[in-house]
């Protein structure tokens, strides 16, 4: 049993078999520096809860094969429900998955964000992500021109 403690003090117990899905935690366990309670200072409780929910669902376990076995189609369906989140949670989750190094979750989340971007104009993308356009009008025009004239 491994215990993780979020930035806001919440603790979560996981079976080792789930904990190793989080590559960062796995590395700590293998290096022998995993204490009884592992602090996860970058990730707050409600996000860590979601991460663990994902990992529990996705863990491949021979012992618990009966309980957790899901077909690929079922898992995909579960994933598409899982990512129905508000944007702030989605982004916090990405940061957590990146820090904890959970490849499949990171792929899922990044694909989701990519889908938000596809087919959109730069203005729309800036709005979605609340990004400030730090190009001067001339700089932007030059890039747009190069994009359209050379690379499209």
């Amino acid at each position: 049993m491994i215990t993780l403690r979020s930035s806001d003090g919440e603790t979560f117990d996981l079976d080792e078999v789930v904990a190793v899905e989080l590559q960062t935690i796995k590395n700590m366990m293998e290096d022998g520096c995993a204490e009884s309670v592992i602090p996860v200072p970058n990730v707050e409780g409600k996000i860590l809860a979601k991460v663990i929910e994902y990992c529990k669902k996705h863990v491949k376990s021979t012992v618990k094969a009966e309980e957790h076995a899901l077909s690929d189609a079922d898992l995909k369906a579960w994933d598409s429900d899982f990512i129905k989140l508000d944007q702030a949670t989605l982004f916090d989750l990405i940061m957590a998955a990146n820090y904890l190094d959970i490849k499949s979750l990171l792929d899922l989340l990044c694909q989701t964000v990519a889908n938000m971007i596809k087919g959109k104009s730069p203005e729309e993308i800036r709005q979605i992500f609340n990004i400030k356009n730090d190009f001067t009008p001339e700089e932007e025009q030059e890039i747009r021109r190069e994009n359209q004239w050379a690379f499209q």
């Binding site: 990171l106 959109k120 730069p122 190009f135 359209q148 499209q152």
Partner: protein, 581 residues
């Protein structure tokens, strides 16, 4: 609240974004996105090699793995672009050997590729996988030998429609025995015999081979052995499909084909003998693409074959199919999406086949998914075009080539304005259009009014005055490529719509009414356009300004005027006067 992801997360998100449009959009969002995007872009498509320079490309995208380039304008296919015009790939290769040692893919269309370039490619890119030379020229089988010998991980070698100096078929033996990675091999354009035993061994040791397009010189008797070594083939181009009628050859072929359960696409069939066609019947139900444009067989045999292919989506065929054959096609091939009918005797004075507008009308009626058409014929009516337009509002590419220029509606003797007008009016998704027959300015008014999604337009021997060109340039919002020959269009419309030319990839005009003076004016007015006058009669400034230019090629560029122009190409920019004097 603004959110900033760390770079590695942005990169990960961008790894799921592939199209040019999307990559270009994300590059403009903000400075950090621009940087992450340009370092993570792996493939570019350069639609006009002169719109940018190799130096600009490598500075912007330091880590490309896949590059696609297009060189000469489309009318080069009709021999309208003189020899030596340009489109040489060598400067690109030379630059990329330094910048992209990990380059994997090169796809070139209408470019001049020398053996030196091929040798450089084969030696410089250790992980080179894909070489597609589409309608290229300038190389010989020596260059191919270098590719075969040195590209250890070659997956694709596709020479479709290229002009190769075919010194011998020996080059194929240069593939080492260790080469097992081929997925696609297209040598259909080559004339000479390749070494059959080398070919058989190569095919036999590449388990992932899915596309094999042979050349004419591979005799029919050799085909079964090849097929037995590659039963996993999905696309096959046969060699000459002719032999003395011998039952053992037939059954050998039949058996070999029956074994290829994955086959979806067939081509080749040079010199095909009808008696041998049934050898492919067993796999016809799986065929989705059939290229019979070299198959000189008559309608009854074509009908027998085509009606065996209920899942056909694409058919390229000679006009031997005739109206009756097209009717049968319409009745049996309900999934048909693309039809190309080529002329068997384009220069004959009289029709040699019973192919008329009716054939196309039948197919447009019977095939609900038909959206791409290239049709050569000798006669057309407005009524037929109107029918086709109303039957197929989903048309996206419509290229009609009535062989004799300025042919009117043969029933009413009217121009074909109304017919083509119906096409642009009803087919709201039309992206490509080639016109022919007798057409007045009214036609171009229809185009400017309706063809809002049109991206490419080809016009020949049409229109009455500059108004026609003006309608097109001012009305077609999505226009990217315009190619015109032998139309009375000139200075006024061109200069009035100068700004439009910066929104398009290119404009080609040959044998029109554009004066040298107007070209100079345009070049001065629009410094970011390369206004290139192609004139083989000698320097244009030795003639009066009012003199008409032979050919004109105008394109936007971020690289300025090109530096590799032959003597018969002059650029009309601000400095041209100084440089020419």
């Amino acid at each position: 609240m603004a959110y900033s992801f760390p770079e590695e997360v942005l990169e990960h998100v961008f790894s799921f974004i592939h199209t040019d449009k999307d990559r270009n959009a994300i590059s403009v969002v903000c400075k950090s996105w621009y940087e992450v995007e340009r370092w993570s872009r792996r493939r570019v498509f350069v639609g006009n090699c002169y719109a940018v320079s190799p130096g600009i490309v490598i500075r912007r995208f330091p880590e490309l793995r896949s590059v696609a380039l297009k060189g000469k304008p489309h009318f080069a296919d009709f021999n309208l672009v003189p020899e030596g015009w340009g489109g040489n790939v060598f400067p690109w290769i030379a630059t990329m050997t330094r910048a992209y040692p990990m380059l994997e893919e090169l796809r070139l269309k209408r470019m001049v590729v020398t053996d030196e370039s091929l040798e450089l490619i084969s030696r410089s890119f250790k992980n080179f996988k894909v070489l597609v030379l589409f309608s290229c020229e300038g190389f010989s089988t020596d260059g191919l030998a270098a590719i075969a010998a040195n590209c250890r991980n070659l997956r694709e070698l596709d020479l479709r429609e290229s002009e190769v100096d075919d010194l011998s078929g020996h080059w194929l033996t240069h593939f080492p025995d260790s080469c097992t990675s081929l997925v696609s091999l297209n040598i259909s354009c080559l004339g000479s015999e390749v070494s059959f035993s080398a070919l058989e061994r190569l095919v036999g040791r590449c388990p992932n081979l899915r596309t094999l397009r042979l050349n004419r010189a591979v005799p029919l008797e050799r085909l079964p052995n090849l097929l037995h070594r590659a039963p996993q083939l999905v696309e096959l181009g046969t060699g000459a499909y002719t032999a003395e009628p011998r039952p053992e050859v037939f059954s050998s072929l039949e058996g070999a084909f029956a074994n290829c359960k994955e086959l979806k696409s067939l081509s080749g069939f040079w010199d095909v003998v009808p008696d041998y066609l049934p050898s492919i019947y067993s796999i016809c139900s799986g065929i989705t693409s059939l290229n019979l444009s070299y198959a000189t067989i008559q309608s009854p045999d074509l009908v027998k074959l085509v009606t065996q292919c209920p899942n056909l989506q694409r058919l390229w065929v000679l006009d031997y199919i005739e109206d009756s054959g097209l009717e049968a096609l319409a009745a049996h091939c309900k999934d048909l999406q693309e039809l190309r009918v080529f002329p068997s005797e384009p220069y004959g004075a009289e029709p040699n086949v019973a192919l008329t507008e009716q054939g196309l009308v039948s197919v447009s009626e019977g095939c609900p998914k038909l959206h791409s058409v290239l049709y050569f014929c000798r006669q057309m009516t407005n009524a037929a075009l109107v029918s086709i337009a109303k039957n197929r509002p989903n048309m996206t590419r419509f290229r009609l080539c009535i062989l004799e220029p300025e042919t009117p509606d043969y029933q009413t003797m009217e121009p074909l304005d109304v017919g083509f007008g119906a096409i642009v009016e009803h087919c709201k998704e039309l992206r490509r259009l080639s016109l022919s027959g007798l057409l007045t300015d009214r036609m171009f008014d229809y185009i400017g009014t309706h063809a809002k999604k049109l991206e490419m337009l080809s016009v020949a021997f049409a229109g009455d005055s500059d108004l026609g060109l003006h309608h097109v340039l001012s009305g077609c919002e999505s226009l990217r490529k315009l190619e015109i020959r032998d139309c009375p269009w000139g200075d006024k419309a061109l200069l009035a719509n100068a700004a439009k030319l910066e929104t398009m990839r290119s404009l080609w005009m040959s044998s029109c009414s554009v004066s040298y003076g107007a070209c100079k004016l345009l070049g001065q007015k629009m410094p970011r356009l390369n206004v290139e006058v192609i004139d083989e009669r000698g320097p244009p400034d030795s003639r009066p300004e009012s003199c008409l230019v032979e050919k004109l090629y105008i394109y936007r560029s971020v690289a300025g005027p090109r530096l590799d122009m032959p003597s018969f190409v002059r650029t009309m920019d601000e400095d041209s006067e100084l440089r020419l004097s």
